[in-house]
Symmetry: C2
Subunit: 336 residues, 2 copies
């Protein structure tokens, strides 16, 4: 039999959005639990080497930043449990019931703040999965860059991460870095694109536009990449590129598949919410951070989301009828 533990508020995910929500909930003296699926809190931001765009920090490491948030939240009395991936969230008669994959306990709560964040998007190329298994395909330069000292890599993508991490890989580790993107223009911030072309003067960076990856071809023994096929989308010409590793920077997928039927999601898996209050259609459930539909996907906006969500708790707990309110059943989410 599993033991049931109750909290006023349970926050699912202890990334920046969840931690910010936890800070405000704990400051308001709600018994607050954060459930984190990974072994450490912090989410994606743990993988960021240097943060320079969080207002108030000129420069801070992702790990250090998360340590500050963790201390801040636990100092105010919130509990963070790690290695607890939520597998089920249901609405009971008068409480929400939460189960995790670390299944000795069941949790109950009156209020839920969903902040499960997002994960790396895969391209599902032929060879991608097998070469990921062989640790030759990666989605995180900070994590795996050091494996490619004096090697050659292909980087794929057009956003901030693709451009930034191409520079990072080329300037720190790789003998040669080839960046391909399917359009002629990058989506990345101009300052980062400038840094890319500046870096290309000093380091061995080859920027190929507009190119898409076609296939990652393993060696005969399947241990390494033999070559990658890439295609010029204007000429349709296919080239073979000899590389040791591939870094795919194709954005994120929200971690909401486990949610079941309780809440509606858009076609990408993002959860709709009122952007003023972060309320979802289900009374007592808020959403914050990168898994929210229309989220700006920045560190500063994720923490803002978390703060706003937690600020809604007081109103919710003041009104005894709030729990019983009927979840909206409109397919279109009553305006959001």
């Amino acid at each position: 039999m599993s033991k049931t533990t109750h909290y006023d508020v349970i926050i699912i995910g202890a990334g920046p959005a969840g931690l910010a929500a936890g800070l405000y909930a704990a400051r308001d003296r709600y018994s607050t639990l954060l459930l984190e699926k990974n072994g450490l809190p912090g989410g994606q931001i743990m993988l960021t080497e240097h943060i320079e765009n969080y207002p108030g920090y000129e420069k801070v490491g992702g790990f250090e930043f998360v340590e500050h948030m963790k201390t801040q939240v636990t100092n105010f009395g919130a509990t963070i449990m790690v290695n607890q991936a939520v597998t089920k969230l249901t609405r009971g008669d008068d409480l929400f019931v939460i189960e995790t994959n670390n299944g000795e306990k069941t949790f109950t709560t009156q209020a839920v703040i969903l902040a499960p964040g997002s994960d790396y998007r895969q391209l599902n190329l032929p060879g991608e999965a097998s070469m990921r298994q062989a640790t030759r395909v990666s989605y995180c330069a900070t994590c795996d860059g050091a494996f490619y000292k004096d090697k050659e890599v292909l980087t794929i993508g057009g956003g901030n991460t693709a451009v930034e991490d191409t520079v990072y890989l080329a300037s720190r580790f790789c003998k040669k870095t080839t960046l391909i993107h399917r359009r002629r223009e990058f989506r990345a911030q101009k300052v980062l694109v400038e840094e890319l072309y500046d870096a290309a003067k000093k380091h061995n960076i080859d920027v190929k536009l507009p190119y898409v990856p076609v296939e990652i071809v393993p060696t005969a023994d399947g241990d390494e990449i033999d070559h990658v096929k890439i295609k010029n989308v204007e000429t349709n010409e296919v080239e073979e590129l000899k590389v040791d590793g591939v870094f795919i920077f194709a954005g994120m997928v929200p971690n909401t598949a486990w949610l079941g039927d309780l809440l509606r999601r858009d076609e990408h898996g993002y959860i709709p919410a009122d952007p003023v209050s972060m309320k979802t259609c289900v009374p007592g459930v808020w959403v914050a951070g990168d898994c929210r539909m229309n989220a700006a996907m920045q560190l500063a906006t994720a923490t803002g989301d978390g703060v706003i969500a937690a600020m809604g708790l007081r109103e919710f707990f003041r009104d005894p009828g709030a729990w019983g309110a009927k979840p909206c059943e409109d397919e279109n989410g009553a305006g959001y």
Copy 2:
């Protein structure tokens, strides 16, 4: 003749929202100017002794925090001009025109981010204005608390600031601090209310609920407060309180009166905007921070606002037709 200076983006107000917007605009390599009416950037946060609720900082002084933001923004190339209160913002044929009270220059720009923040709300009690002039009525404990060493003060209000600053005044300076609030319950966060009652065990704090202030009565020479009349709203009984100073913590008024006809405001002066994008009804104008309708009025949400507003610039500058778009003329602001 005044000189005209052009910037891609002009941000009105260099508080946390404006500075966060400036950070993102400058990182995107727009020529960016922040116009600040005060002699220093930072806005209201400069008056905060310790910040403990900004995610990522366990504890930081307001001044220190603003220094970090200022350095961060100017390092990326933005210009901050102080003592520049904007008096006029008009939409010309193909640019916005901005005039300030420091009138040697006129500024033109394609994009405006409004982040003028808010100011202290006055209660307009008899005697309030004259005693403010005589520096016996204050709206900021951090600014004026030290003047009341071993004196007696009255504090008025029920929100976070009222409760927090009553403790601050009582524990640091005052011989006696009386807090009145018009309701039986505080609006402040519970953790702060607990701190108030804890502090009342050690310091001379008298909490009187539910009371309203009626009049601030000066001495015959008008230099000091003789007494303050306060009324119990349940019994209607009026009491006279002998105090040396009065601190009024009655919230904020948005600094938007100078805006003229360009943009609609709600009855309190807040500017409506799309909460997803921070866009106002006028193409090329965004709003961020405490003067936005429905803003959450927290440091973390003000910076989030600023980031979101500045992230809209790229889309705006990509579309040459955006400038010419017709401002919405709907009295109800087309949904926001």
